[in-house]
Symmetry: C2
Subunit: 333 residues, 2 copies
């Protein structure tokens, strides 16, 4: 399959009766441009008439910038990341980049591959790695933004406002009358994660709060955690889950154990997805602006590529409480 020859800058130059370099200047919107209005118009006409668009490979070679960003995900088939990717795709397009997706497999060798592959920067979404493992990524010469978590030894991260979201969840449970609440959270003792439970406890828990760690972030690990929750429960009337898919699994576990939600136990989770409507009972959540997180992370990365200073990003769009059926007053039964 052969693609028809597209017009080059030379063709445009010929048609506009100018030198190819003039075309280049007009197209690159050089700030200190020195082009007559007339010349510029001729060039722009020629571009339009030929429906010329620059050859990305040539530009990439010349400028040593590929115009490619890679979004590295722990596993693509995870609904949690989809809105983020969607936002990232949109923003990348706006900024003239294309977004390549990749799955994180062998961290170390993979980084080398990326460096070899000529991409301009990396978005790294991988809550599971600790800061040591992340080290080699951050120290490489390639711009990297770690998405959806905080970092202590680097400013190259972006996140949504988990403390605020956790506070919203705590307020909701508090206003319902809950005083004793368990926390179901992710597997690792990572800074981003403890921030979620800490903020939560700051509102609700002057007393001791039982915190259960699931062994992962997916529904099956939430399902597995149900048993531990029930075993360690001592009068708690609600569970705060720090990541939605865990709650989806938990709901199933509780159902099978004959615990009714929310009469016996209320459940609220961070992150929202259409899916929350379809579990039973529908899951009360705090929705977080993941689409915007994707967008802003790309913007941040591109700034790094352009050598503009850029600190960490926290998306300011406020989290939204979405009340569905899984929360209610305590001990209603």
């Amino acid at each position: 399959m052969k693609s028809i020859d597209r017009p080059t800058m030379k063709d445009v130059a010929l048609r506009a009766h100018v030198d190819i370099s003039v075309v280049s200047r007009v197209l690159s919107q050089d700030p200190r441009l020195s082009v007559t209005a007339a010349t510029r118009a001729r060039v722009e006409n020629a571009v339009r008439e030929l429906s010329y668009s620059p050859n990305r490979s040539a530009r990439a070679l010349r400028t040593s910038k590929s115009g490619l960003l890679t979004f590295v995900l722990p596993q693509i088939a995870n609904p949690l990341y989809l809105r983020m990717v969607s936002g990232a795709v949109q923003k990348a397009k706006d900024l003239g980049y294309q977004l390549v997706v990749a799955e994180l497999t062998h961290a170390a060798e993979q980084l080398r591959e990326y460096q070899a592959s000529g991409i301009d920067g990396i978005l790294l979404a991988t809550g599971g790695l600790d800061e040591d493992q992340l080290g080699e990524w951050m120290e490489g010469q390639m711009p990297v933004v770690v998405v959806n978590r905080t970092l202590e030894n680097s400013e190259n991260w972006s996140s949504v406002d988990y403390p605020r979201a956790a506070t919203l969840a705590a307020d909701h449970l508090g206003s319902l009358g809950h005083r004793h609440v368990m926390v179901l959270t992710g597997p690792e003792k990572l800074p981003g994660w403890s921030a979620r439970s800490d903020a939560f406890r700051a509102v609700l828990g002057d007393h001791e709060t039982v915190e259960i760690r699931a062994s992962g972030l997916y529904a099956d690990q939430g399902y597995a955690a149900a048993a531990e929750i029930l075993a360690r429960r001592q009068g708690e009337t609600a569970v705060f889950v720090t990541s939605m898919m865990l709650a989806v699994g938990l709901l199933k576990g509780l159902r099978e154990s004959g615990v009714s939600v929310p009469e016996d136990l209320s459940v609220i989770a961070l992150h929202d997805d259409d899916l929350a409507n379809y579990v039973s009972p529908p899951l009360t959540t705090v929705a977080l602006p993941m689409y915007q997180l994707g967008q802003l992370s790309v913007a941040q990365l591109v700034n790094m590529i352009d050598d503009k200073k850029e600190g960490p990003i926290v998306v300011t769009d406020p989290p939204q409480l979405v009340v569905r059926g899984s929360t209610g007053p305590p001990g209603e039964r």
Copy 2:
């Protein structure tokens, strides 16, 4: 942020005491290579010592092949497509390509953009467009594979074996004792879709089968269809749903109408996802090899790019019945 200068082919050539063109030949594994074993070894050593990897932009410019494939999706945030994308990413990497993801928005203008953006080919997953709308994509000079559906006027499509999957579903319901079954299917009268219900009817339905068309393929449209299903139901004891997310919504609709599944009505759906475990009752499905579909579609596309003849692809990995809680004998209550 400045990336350190990577070694070029020239550096390798210098170190191996050969001409740059020899390096090129060794690296491109030219079939009719004419290189001494010794020279080849020297080159390979130099490559290793410098950890050289070719500059993709330069190669792209020279060969006018970017090494980029774009996967166009109707909406990224749809679990249905995830495994496909995952398989495609994996295969693309194996074949030396990178996979760019994009969302389908304005079909017409977008195609032009792709042509301008220098990608080598397109995977198009968009069950919603009819063959006319697809026309401009197929007729362009760019290789396009339409993924997950059949086409009548083109061979450039790939699909899983929906008829076989539908047959599996029908067999399951049949062996359970169901004789009167409704079909809930997608919105359009597309060839790929009628194949699903036709195959199903071939097994079960000598008699007339009521077919309900949902207005989309997502859970909310399945939810909306519940009312119509119940209104038009005349003794049917099961529903065959041609796409999983519809069934997820349907289950909720039935639950809210007080219909118990599977006692009052069995539900079985095409496509499987972990999610099916977490709805209530767990959904019986026929799992389809979507990961392999992603892989094979990429292979097919790359063959087109390489001018190798390639007909349509139907993934041969067999569909698998996954019995969960939503199917049972009719009228058990």
